[in-house]
């Protein structure tokens, strides 16, 4: 069979057709505020299209290879009734987290996050756009500009549901909120997910996102999360990505921080065909702290890419980036990290580090730091390494009787541990330890109680 070669333009046209064919049903089922941003998103997408590798930010990720093919799309919530709690049992005990499920991008109608403190809102995105229009209008689409990245425009164009979280000023969510994104269908599917987390002044919360495919179909997911951290807010945002190797996941996190806020993001990419994570952080007040951490494990033909842009817009902010990857077989990865320091952002401290281990001769890693600094009183550093497992350490371990396989495991785990130890939600950390250990042993890293073989 001849496979026609599709250019990014062809694929963009295909997505546009999909939008035009379904815009009526999409707008009919979405709130007014969601719809209000589609016209601009459409203009921007028509201008930008799917990014090609000529786009510097996507130089190492050929997204066009992943965004084509026969896929359905769903534009209404709950196309078939399933009891998700029957087919999916997560083994993080529910007692310790508030759990909400999202199915194919839609907030699951039976979600009932019990025990939330009064005033804290966790609900579907579309529902929030109707029920809480004031807060919603103030923040939705305000951080994720559609002007520069066609995939952000595409997400805004198709957005109709996801999760909305609101933590009012001075309040805190004591137990972590766990959002489980599930992909489950009878056919291959394109999924658009859109989240908005608004955390007020002096508030704090911890949100854990888990991405799972529950069957062996292929999914193209375009997922976007806007996070607003008010003055002195404390936000902990962890993400665990575990999808099958037929699936492609593109995530965008837009993090907007006001004065003295602290946001820590920890992304563990365990498995997936394509994983592309974009992080945009704007430090919009003095004294902010931003921590972006990531661990990615790739084998087979997986591609895992992380892109960051930290914008120090105001003085006396600190940002730390640490991304570590282990790649085996034919896996490829990239890290593209940018620090932008505005002219007035004096006393900025900005650090960036990317360390990678390649386990096979065919595995490849591209890493590219990028610093753009317009202030003169700043401390910025970046460093990147690509290497193999330390042979001295291997010999040391083996000379004590530890077999080669176990010695490799110990060293790989030690490498990963620097990221894992930064996960502050202890119950999540414990589970990640187990999953990473299994993953590095080449065993399928899936949840213990889940019967579906991802991979």
């Amino acid at each position: 069979m001849n496979e026609t070669i599709l250019t990014p333009q062809d694929i963009s046209a295909e997505w546009l057709r999909l939008y035009r064919d379904n815009s009526d049903i999409l707008t009919k089922n979405s709130g007014e505020i969601l719809n209000s941003q589609r016209a601009k998103a459409l203009d921007d997408f028509m201008r930008l299209g799917i990014p090609s590798t000529k786009n510097e930010a996507y130089r190492y990720t050929r997204v066009e290879d992943y965004l084509k093919g026969n896929y359905d799309a769903e534009f209404t919530n709950d196309p078939f009734k399933v009891d998700l709690r029957e087919i999916f049992k997560c083994d993080i005990p529910e007692l310790d987290t508030h759990v909400v499920l999202v199915l194919n991008g839609f907030y699951y109608t039976d979600n009932n996050p019990a025990g939330l403190p009064d005033g804290i809102i966790v609900c579907g995105l579309n529902e929030a756009s109707v029920k809480y229009p004031d807060i919603f209008r103030q923040h939705y689409g305000k951080y994720a500009g559609t002007e520069t990245d066609g995939l952000v425009a595409l997400n805004t164009l198709f957005a109709n549901d996801g999760v909305f979280v609101y933590v009012p000023d001075g309040m805190s969510l004591e137990r972590p909120l766990q959002i489980i994104n599930l992909s489950f269908s009878l056919r291959n599917l394109r999924i658009t997910r859109r989240n908005l987390f608004v955390t007020g002044d002096n508030s704090s919360c911890s949100i854990v996102l888990c991405d799972h495919t529950l069957c062996a179909h292929s999914y193209i997911t375009n997922s976007l999360t806007e996070i607003y951290a008010g003055r002195n807010a404390r936000v902990d945002f962890s993400r665990m990505q575990n999808e099958n190797s037929l699936s492609s996941q593109i995530t965008h996190a837009f993090i907007h921080q006001e004065e003295s806020s602290k946001v820590t993001s920890n992304t563990i990419s365990l498995h997936g065909g394509l994983i592309r994570n974009n992080f945009f952080v704007r430090l919009n007040g003095t004294g902010c702290e931003s921590n972006l951490y990531g661990l990615f494990l790739g084998d087979d033909n997986q591609h895992i890419a992380n892109f960051t842009l930290i914008h120090h817009a105001m003085p006396q902010c600190t940002s730390n980036q640490l991304f570590k990857g282990i790649l085996d077989d034919n896996a490829t990865g990239s890290f593209n990290g940018k620090i932008y320091v505005s002219r007035d952002a004096q006393k900025t401290l900005a650090y960036q580090k990317n360390n990678n281990i390649l386990l096979s001769p065919a595995a490849r890693m591209n890493t590219k730091p990028h610093l753009e600094i317009y202030a003169d009183d700043v401390k910025c550093s970046h460093g990147a390494t690509v290497g193999r497992l330390d042979t001295e350490a291997m010999f040391y371990l083996r000379s004590r009787g530890i077999g080669e396989k176990e010695a490799r495991q110990l060293l790989m785990y030690a490498f990963a541990d620097e990221i894992i130890s930064k996960i502050s939600v202890s119950i999540l950390r414990e589970r990640i330890i187990g999953l990473v250990d299994k993953r590095l042993r080449g065993e399928l890293a899936r949840c213990n109680n889940c019967d579906v073989r991802c991979g």
Partner: protein, 249 residues
């Protein structure tokens, strides 16, 4: 226990060990001395099974088996222990987990069940006392942030944990002050039995004041050029390595 016959070892095509013969019997302590670059550490690492150290000629029998055919971990499980001259720092691998894994691999090899947590802790405490390693080892990575002396004590501590048949100590004295040296030597002496053996590799005679060898060998340019009793160490200390260089011109 160990019989080395005409051993030749090359690293990257360069021959470092040029024909060594040595026999070590149970209960014996052998000292191997020699100037820098004579091949002492190469010999030790080759016996421990370091990859990329190419044995080009010769034979080594250990407990009646061909040592050179075994991977490093198998040599270790059969009781061979190398105390490193430069112990490797391994960030992220906890020393406790490392030792527990090693002890259990040894036990598995002997057909024993994994050690219980309480027995393991007891054993750790006991062996730490033996070598005077009194720092709290929990939550510490292997050798990371250890002082020079702590690293060497940690080697003897590991030796005590694994209770080897044949211990090869590669310049365990280097970088130690006299008090630390006594503690390390004391640890080695306490572990001596009539059934095990020790090869002490050293540049200086002073360690041999505390670990009394049965035999002293002088290694020079990849060959053993002199072998004798412990008095040889004294003679070397007196005359210096120039004496060896002169004799082997």
């Amino acid at each position: 226990m160990l019989i080395i016959k005409d051993l030749h070892v090359s690293i990257g095509g360069k021959e470092i060990i040029k024909g060594i013969n040595l026999e070590v019997k149970a209960g014996e302590v052998h000292a191997i001395m020699g100037p820098n670059g004579s091949g002492k550490s190469t010999l030790a690492a080759a016996l421990a099974g370091r990859e990329n150290f190419e044995v080009t000629k010769g034979h080594v029998s250990y407990l009646g088996e061909n040592l050179l055919e075994m991977p490093a971990e198998e040599r270790a499980r059969k009781g061979l222990f190398l105390g490193f001259q430069y112990p490797v720092e391994i960030p992220g691998v906890s020393l406790v987990n490392f030792m527990k894994t090693a002890v259990n691999e040894h036990r598995k090899f002997k057909g024993l069940d994994p050690i219980s947590a309480s027995d393991f802790l007891k054993m750790m405490r006991e062996k730490q006392d033996l070598v005077g390693l009194h720092t709290n080892l929990t939550n510490r990575s292997v050798n990371e942030g250890f002082s020079g002396g702590e690293k060497k004590r940690n080697e003897i501590f590991q030796m005590a944990m694994l209770n080897p048949v044949l211990a090869i100590l590669d310049e365990t004295d280097s970088g130690l002050d006299i008090d630390a040296l006594k503690i390390v030597a004391n640890g080695v002496n306490k572990l001596r039995t009539k059934d095990n053996a020790t090869i002490v590799i050293t540049h200086y005679q002073r360690l041999l004041d505390f670990i009394i060898p049965d035999f002293v060998h002088v290694l020079y340019k990849g060959r053993i050029v002199k072998s004798s009793g412990k008095e040889l160490a004294m003679e070397l200390e007196e005359k210096g390595y120039d004496w060896i260089r002169e004799e082997n011109k």
